[in-house]
Structure formats: C-alpha cells, structure tokens
C-alpha cells in the first residue's frame, strides 16, 4: 500500500506542472493585458509613462518563461501574488471565499449521496416498476435541465411567491449574529439561504449517481453468488442489502472524483445566480475583470483539489475491494 501511494503521488507531479503551465498560458493569451485593470486599481490616468512604470513594478516586462518560473516559485511557497482588482493578496481573497463554497459543496455532496444511493438501489430492486420509471424519468430530466434554468424557475415559482421567506441572494441576513440572536436563529437563517442553491446543485448531480447506482446494482443482482445466496434461502433483504449492495457500491465509489470536479465547475453558475460569496463567484469575477493572479490561483487550486479527490477515491477503492492489487 505504501509503495502504491508513493507511486500515485509521484504521478501527480507531472500533472500538476502541466496544469500550472495550462492555466498560466491561457492567461497570456489575453489581448490588452492586465494594465487596464491595474490603472483603474491605482487610480491612474491613461498616461503611457504610468503604464510602463506599472508593468515594470509588476514584472510584466520580463520574458514570459521568466514570469512563469517566478510565479511557480512563489506558488510553491504559498504566495499567489496580489489581486489587481481587490488590491489584496490573492491568498486572502481566496481564503475568505473558500469556506462559503466548502460549506455549500459538502452539504450538497452529502445530500446527493443520501438521496441518490437509496433511489438507485430501490429502482434496481424493483426494476420496471412505477417507481423505477419515475426515478429513471427524474434522472433523465436532471441530466438535461440546465442548472440555471432550474434556478430561475425556483426563484420565480418558489422564492418570489414565498413573500420573502426564501431568500434568493447571499449567504445570511446582515446583522443576524450569534451574540444577539443565539445560535438557533443563526442556523435557521443560514439554512434558509441554502435552500435554493442546494436544491439546484443536488438536482443536477443526483442524476448521474442514481443511474450509476441503479445499473451497478442490476449488474450485481445477476451474479451467480446472488443466486446462490437466494438458493440458500436467505431473506431477500439480506441478499440485497448485505450481499449485493457491498459489491454494487464499488463502481459508484470510482465516479465520486468526477462528481466532485463537476460540482466545483458548476459552482460558477450556481454561486453567480444566488450571489453566494464563494470561490465560483470570485473566480467568475476574476475572469471577467482579467484579474489574472486570482484566476490562475483558483484554476490551480481546483485542479489540486480534484487530484486529491481522485487520489482519495483510488485509495478507497483499493481499500474496499481486496481483489484489486496495487503493485
């Protein structure tokens, strides 16, 4: 196991270097460059001498490979540079947005599994029943419905008709804090703001997991050892939930990494619609403001997080399934 882990981690290094190269070079494609934002940020007039001075100060006149190596070196020490737009260190900008995203994503992920796994299992066990058709239909719908459309429909059909009970913007009511209101009302307030974004995210990611769970379960239920278990006279419940489920869960673990990655990508849209102050929204703002350092940092960070996710999935897979050898 130790050697497998080491090999797996070493394999990540070239991937990470490629990912940094990719995110760095995309930013260099930009026409116009970051001067415009710089000048606005420094309240400077469009004076050419100021532009030169700023380019010099931010090191934008150096050859691009030099800029890349310098940036990479800084990144390795945890320094992502300064945000042109917020006029703060990038790590501060990201640090203040990350908790909001993690909070939303982890709850969404948890709810997705909580709903998708039982749905998939039941619709496999009762294949071709009414419930199975309903679940399959729901899965098709969730796969094809654009998340932003679902979001607008919810804002229009639920939030706008709730007389302000269900908010559509932000993360908490300003002024609601632990000191004056107590933790219960703070919690209720937070939950209120999460209803819509969570519904959209869970609906979107539910589908692939449900379909996967269903087909994996169907596959396993056809196996010989299931027939053997039934022939032994075991109760159907034991057969399904003890013998079949364990094996059916294995392939489901393997797609968890991809699910995580697509949820992070989807955060751009969800957070922008609901003004959720997280990484997705900050990343989108950075991109439209040409705030290069922030964009590069977020791309890199999401890449690293995805890689770690895949690694954990791999480890879990090997750990759960003794048939897999790691050499």
């Amino acid at each position: 196991m130790g050697r497998y882990l080491l090999k797996r981690v070493l394999n990540m290094i070239p991937l990470l270097i490629l990912a940094t190269l990719l995110s760095f070079s995309i930013m260099q494609l930009a026409p116009g460059g970051p001067e415009k934002v710089l000048l606005a940020a420094e309240d400077a007039t469009l004076d050419p001498s100021r532009i030169e001075e700023l380019r010099e100060r931010w090191g934008l006149n150096d050859p691009i490979p030099v800029q890349y190596v310098r940036w990479l070196g800084n990144v390795l020490t945890g320094d992502f540079g300064r945000s042109y737009f917020y006029r703060k260190p990038v790590s501060e900008v990201i640090g203040s947005a990350l908790p909001a995203t993690l909070q939303l994503q982890s709850i969404a992920l948890f709810l997705t599994y909580l709903i998708a796994l039982p749905l998939g299992i039941i619709s496999a066990v009762r294949q071709y029943s009414k419930l199975d058709y309903a679940v399959t239909g729901l899965a098709f719908a969730g796969q094809a419905a654009p998340s932003f459309w679902v979001a607008i429909l919810l804002i229009w059909g639920v939030a706008m008709k709730s007389n302000g009970l269900i908010p559509t913007n932000g993360i908490a009511t300003p002024g609601v804090n632990f000191e004056t209101y107590g933790w219960l009302s703070v919690l209720a307030d937070r939950a209120k703001y999460m209803i819509l974004p969570l519904t959209v995210m869970v609906f979107g990611s539910l589908t692939s997991l449900t379909r996967y769970m269903r087909s994996s379960m169907l596959e396993v239920l056809k196996e010989d050892y299931i027939r053997t278990a039934r022939a032994k006279g075991l109760a159907e419940k034991v057969v399904v939930y003890k013998h079949a489920l364990r094996n059916a869960l294995l392939p489901v673990i393997s797609i968890s990494g991809g699910l995580l990655s697509s949820m992070v990508g989807g955060a751009v849209i969800t957070e922008t619609i609901f003004s959720w102050p997280g990484i997705g929204r900050v990343g989108f703002d950075a991109v439209t403001q040409r705030d290069y350092n922030v964009s590069m940092a977020i791309m890199l960070m999401s890449g690293v997080l995805t890689l770690i996710g895949f690694l954990l999935v791999d480890i879990a897979y090997v750990w759960v399934d003794p048939r897999i050898k790691y050499d």
Binding site: P146, I152, V264
Partner: protein
C-alpha cells in the same frame, strides 16, 4: 470462411457492402424499436429543420426593430404566440433565430472533440505503454483535472467573444473523455489477430491505425459523441447565460434566458420557453444516444 476460392477484388468489395448493409439494417430495426429514441430523433429533425429554414419561418427578421409599444406582450397575444420581449420583439422569432447557434454548437464542438479525441486516443492506444502514450495521456488528464466549466469560462472570457470561438473552445476542453475511450478500444484491438495479420503483411503504422483498427472502434465513438452533444449545448447556454456568449445581434437560447432574469416579474415567459427548448433538445440527444448505444450493442442494454 467457406472453402477457399479465388475472389476478384470487386466481388470481395460487393460482399463486404452487402454485409455492412445488413448490419446497418439490423441497427435501424433495433433503433426503431426504441420508442424514446425515435421520439428524440423526430424532435431533433423538427428542431433542425426549423433552424435551417429560420428565414422562412420566423415572422420577424433577426435584426427586428425595437418596438417599445409592444413590449412584454404575454403569450397568446395577436401575432405573438409566445409573447414579446423587453424590446417588443416577437419571442418565437427570437427563439427560432436563436436555435441556429444553440443547435450548431453541439455538432461543431463535438466535431472538434471527436477529431482531437480520436487522434490522440488512437495514437496513445496504438503505442500504449510507450512514452508517446504517457505524454498524451498526461496532457489529457491535465485538462481533465481542471473543472471543465471553470476552464471554459476562463478561456472564453480571455478570447474575443464570438460564436466560433465558443464552439471551438468547448470542443477543445471536452476531448479527453473521448480520447480515453478510443485509447481503451485500441489497447484491446491492437492485439487482435487481424491487426497482427496486417502488420505481418507489412502495413505501416498509419495504415494500421486508420484503416484497420479505427473502423472497429467507431461504434463507441459515435455513442459517446452523441451523448456528449447535450453537454456541449448546455455549456454554450451556460456561457451565454453568464454573459460570455456571442455578442448581439447574434442570439441564442442561453442569451434570451440571461436577459430574462431581469424581467422575471413582468415577463416570466421570457425565461420559460428558451429554457424548455434547451431542456427538450438535450433530452432528445440523450434519448437518441442511448438508442444508438442499445442498437449497436444489445448486450449493453441497461
């Protein structure tokens, strides 16, 4: 093979054609049995016909004049079956024009992705295990590691906003998945007897890859491409929704949706119909893709 006898080349080709024909017929018969897939196909044919003949169907031209007196007419008003938008333009006409971008994005983006994914996947698979394979797969994985939509948003906002840029960028970010599939096919096909036989007869690598192995890997490529067209359409709509789509006067379903957000109270129909159109199109592509998969390989049936 029956008893050996000398065939002329022409006869051989004819026999090959007949066999392909019957396989194709088999495929059509199996596909036609799948009701959802047929419904999806019919919907797609209608939608694409509307997009192609837009100038003859739309009641207003693409650059329809702003007519504030007629703004926010609800659906069903005279001359405007789906109502009018915030500038008094006919929504149905806007959607018919918008279908041109929304519907072509899927095909163009997938064309780019299939081309790149097949090329990279076949080379990597054919030379599986060598440094070529390792480098190509590392590049594919590096692109895959960054969440796709964030990569898309970044690249599109950096480039000049245009329909073509968007289509190409969606294609450029979605080839790795196809490359993995093609590579997997090649890894198993390159060890088959027919490959060995051709190699023994002196076929070059390029000939082996493109004439002998690739045709055997076409089925999974088609299935996976069809199922991904929906994703490409959703990506374009998402970009347009965020305001990163093609600039006006170009119009797409995602763009109408993006504008509709501001007028949710006055004109909810502005967000309803374009969203529904995207939903139905993606659904239809998924049905057709599933239908093709089941028809090509009945063993894979869910």
């Amino acid at each position: 093979m029956a008893a050996p006898h000398l065939n002329t080349e022409a006869e051989e080709q004819l026999q090959g054609l007949a066999r392909e024909e019957s396989q194709f017929r088999q495929f059509v018969r199996r596909f036609a049995r799948n009701k959802l897939a047929v419904v999806g196909l019919v919907i797609l044919i209608i939608f694409y016909a509307v997009a192609i003949f837009a100038p003859f169907i739309a009641s207003e031209p693409l650059d329809a004049r702003v007519n504030l007196a007629e703004r926010f007419q609800p659906p069903g008003s005279p001359g405007h079956p789906l109502g009018t938008d915030n500038l008094g333009r006919d929504l149905l006409s806007r959607m018919i024009w918008g279908s041109r971008i929304s519907l072509s994005v899927g095909f163009v983006a997938m064309g780019v992705a299939v081309l790149l994914g097949t090329l990279v996947g076949s080379i990597a698979g054919y030379y599986g295990g060598t440094w070529i394979d390792i480098i190509l797969m590392r590049i594919a994985e590096a692109i895959d590691v960054i969440p796709v939509f964030f990569l898309l948003v970044t690249v599109v906002s950096v480039l000049e906003p245009s329909v073509y840029n968007i289509m190409i960028v969606i294609g450029l970010t979605s080839w790795p998945g196809l490359a993995y599939i093609v590579r997997g096919q090649f890894l198993s096909l390159r060890q088959r007897d027919f490959t060995e036989a051709s190699r023994a007869m002196g076929a070059t690598d390029a000939r082996l890859i493109f004439r002998h192995i690739l045709p055997n890997a076409v089925a999974p490529i088609i299935v996976s491409a069809t199922l991904r067209i929906g994703g490409a359409i959703l990506s374009e709509a998402g970009l347009s929704f965020l305001g990163l789509g093609a600039p006006p006067p170009a119009v797409s379903w995602g763009q109408i949706l993006s504008v509709s957000r501001t007028f949710l109270k006055q004109a909810p129909w502005l967000m309803f119909w374009p969203g529904l159109a995207i939903f139905i199109t993606v659904l239809a592509f998924n049905f057709v893709g599933d239908g093709i998969r089941d028809a090509l390989d009945p063993k894979l049936k869910r």
